[in-house]
Symmetry: C2
Subunit: 460 residues, 2 copies
């Protein structure tokens, strides 16, 4: 099957790069970072396994799809396996619960939570090895994050780019594993793009769409790639076409240069950040600035009268939707509550957000004394740089200011291997896994990703 | 589970009506029209069964889902059954191939191709009877078409409303069959809406997204309703919320009054048209006007020098995307080609569009002499009324004009039972079904929908 319209598009340039990429061509630093981000993702997938959205998606799988198959559900306690579309849906949902999965700064999307579950399930299904898996993930990050960058800030005001850019990345990663050619891959990306969806509305009433978005990005992207292999033609110019994603899903400016800029020289995976704090990434610059200020000036939680968090518009837009934060998940999207937790506990790790904290009046009082303020200079740098400034007024009258240029975990200051392992262990403990030797086995298998002949054995 | 935000919304009014609707409350005329539209849909599902998109979606089902289950694939030649999500995906795809499925005028969407396959598969799965099925379909039409009307004309410029309104209708229909309560139904509609997608980009290069859109609207709407039953919370105000469908997917005006206007007094199913011609519905007013003019003035195909088809903006937008019409499907979206076929053959039925016609130079020459022209008066009435005017210049110099107020098949002039049966027989013949007694059995079963105790037995 060929398309009737064969005018080359910028998307086609990106696809030609993707189809041509060999494992041997991937810089060592990129392979290493992919491995680190995979370990990081795996912990997230375990930590979120009991969330009601994940439970409901798992039930949907048992009703609509096979419950035996070649693909693992990372939550091994269920004893379930399935086909790639369903296994990845469940794993993607569970890995986007605890707000600890990675972030690609420039595209404002979380690639790990969609690319890894989809690529892992397909790799398990068709017996890909570690190098094929890494190559597919590098491609998935690249294509998905470039799509997200193309869609830009104004898209992100209403859409969860992790889903809309994510489905494009999933299609590309799976196309790589299935060894689709250029035309088939273009079709897969086109079919992915015409399914792209995911709205922020759920943030307003603390409902469960966030996990639906990542789960369905996997399902839909896998559908796109498999059906492209089997003859279903997708539109060739889904990003830039007159009825494509840019035209329909972007009210403001698109960034076409992002689609094919410096292919093979820049790697999206090296532009991805680890999340250290367990809250919405938009709170992290302020958290880091506040913790740094408190340490520098020897200020305690009780000393603080008020905080102004100077930030970019997208943070105000997203964090403004969650109100007071009525659930643990929603509270991670409240700047005031997150800064309260960080100030009181000295950190904002996964174990620092609990049901009990929601009723802690000292946190709630602190929360009321935090305001976000638009900062034009910080906004002009976003999303290339995620900066933040806090202005703290102390009860003794002192007024102190602190800014951060990079957040802990940013590409410029990534986590160390020890920190990644510590975070992984905290996540699996939070997920209720008690079998330490099993945890070690999985961790070692993940660190040795590139030498794996087979990618089964990651369930915990 | 309850939502933290319980402020009532207009969507909630619509849901309360849906949850409260009993079969006994539905007017006889509505039950009858539902039955007629179901018969009409069934023929379409058979006719499109060999399309490459349907073949690829069926293959996806065999790879990802069960190939035995309680739900029928309407293409009985495959010997496959599956779960509701997959069976409905395939049936929805095949029923949206030949451009003969119904149209709800005011919402510019095709409800049958999404509501019937989803409701049928779920009804088969949980052993609903004919009355429960009819009730669910009436609800699905109502909720889906009202969502489509709310999204309006400017949404339709980029989005295939059959998919975006359709997924909402599917969730509502399935919620009815599953007997979800008000809160669960609201969640289902919310989860459906955050998955709403479907772009017109495929029309530009004659690719296969149209069937993907209907197939995935079923899959995604079923996911939404089942997961809502199982505890997954969806946003309560997905239509009108500040990060909902209206805000994100409508560049122009929304029509909020459509969501809850005259509930129980107006029925969307009575506002749906049968398609008589086998082309894009936007060509129908011009086809009817042209055929009427030719008959009135005794003009033949050869007599015509040029045609101006005066129409509304949405027709120009959609039909303008297909160029010359390089495939049979794309040719049904070319005003010039469709009018050429109608003028030459005296009709534009399913058997009138064949591969051979694409190379017919007399049709191609006629096509070049047709232009579409924007008509402000016609546009002001659209989509409440789908009117058209043609101005024909004859080779002998005569200039003739004809207008139509209603199209054959419109709610004001629906098809007769004989016409519906004739169309059904043509569709199944086109679909290659030769077993006449089986066809009669299925047809009788469909006409007797309301008395069926079980809804299996519609595969052909």
């Amino acid at each position: 099957m060929t398309h009737s319209n064969t005018i080359p598009t910028v998307t086609e340039r990106l696809v030609r790069w993707a189809v041509g990429l060999q494992y041997q061509d991937i810089p060592e630093e990129v392979v290493q970072r992919t491995t680190e981000l995979f370990v990081d993702w795996l912990g997230c997938a375990v930590a979120g396994r009991s969330h009601p959205a994940v439970v409901a998606m798992t039930k949907f799988m048992t009703q609509m799809g096979p419950t035996t198959g070649r693909c693992e559900i990372i939550d091994g306690s269920l004893g379930l396996t399935s086909t790639p579309a369903f296994a990845s849906m469940v794993n993607a949902g569970s890995s986007h619960v605890v707000e600890q999965d990675d972030l690609h700064n420039k595209s404002i999307m979380h690639p790990a939570t969609v690319i890894f579950p989809a690529a892992l399930a397909v790799a398990q299904d068709i017996s890909s090895n570690g190098q094929e898996f890494i190559t597919a993930c590098v491609i998935g990050y690249e294509v998905g994050c470039r799509a997200g960058e193309y869609l830009g800030k104004s898209h992100y005001e209403k859409f969860h780019t992790t889903a809309t850019g994510g489905v494009i990345g999933v299609a590309a990663a799976v196309a790589s594993l299935l060894r689709l050619d250029v035309d088939q891959t273009i079709s897969g990306i086109g079919t992915a793009g015409t399914q792209a969806a995911g709205l922020w509305q759920f943030l307003l009433d603390a409902t469960h769409s966030k996990q639906v978005h990542t789960g369905k990005a996997c399902f839909d992207g896998i559908f796109a790639a498999y059906s492209a292999r089997d003859g279903l033609l997708g539109p060739r110019d889904i990003l830039e076409g007159s009825r494509g994603m840019g035209a329909a899903l972007v009210p403001g400016k698109t960034y076409p240069e992002a689609i094919s800029r410096a292919l093979g020289a820049e790697y999206a995976i090296l532009g991805s950040s680890f999340k250290w704090h367990a809250s919405c990434r938009h709170t992290h610059p302020s958290v880091d600035a506040l913790l740094s200020l408190m340490k520098k000036h020897q200020i305690s939680f009780e000393d603080i009268d008020s905080v102004v968090a100077k930030t970019y518009q997208a943070a105000i837009d997203v964090l403004g939707l969650s109100g007071r934060g009525e659930t643990v998940h929603q509270s991670k999207f409240s700047m005031g509550f997150v800064l309260a937790v960080a100030a009181k506990k000295g950190q904002a790790m996964i174990t620092d957000f609990h049901e009990n904290d929601l009723a802690d009046q000292t946190l709630r009082e602190f929360q009321k004394c935090v305001v976000m303020e638009y900062d034009a200079d910080i906004d002009s740098r976003f999303p290339n740089e995620w900066q933040g400034t806090v202005v703290v007024v102390c009860k003794d009258g002192r007024k102190l200011t602190e800014s951060v240029e990079y957040v802990k975990g940013d590409p410029q200051v990534p986590l160390t291997r020890d920190e990644i392992e510590a975070k992984f262990r905290a996540l699996v403990t939070y997920g209720g896994i008690t079998d330490a030797s099993k945890v070690e086995d999985v961790l070692q298998k993940a660190w040795n990703l590139r030498t794996q002949k087979d990618l089964h054995g990651f369930a915990l």
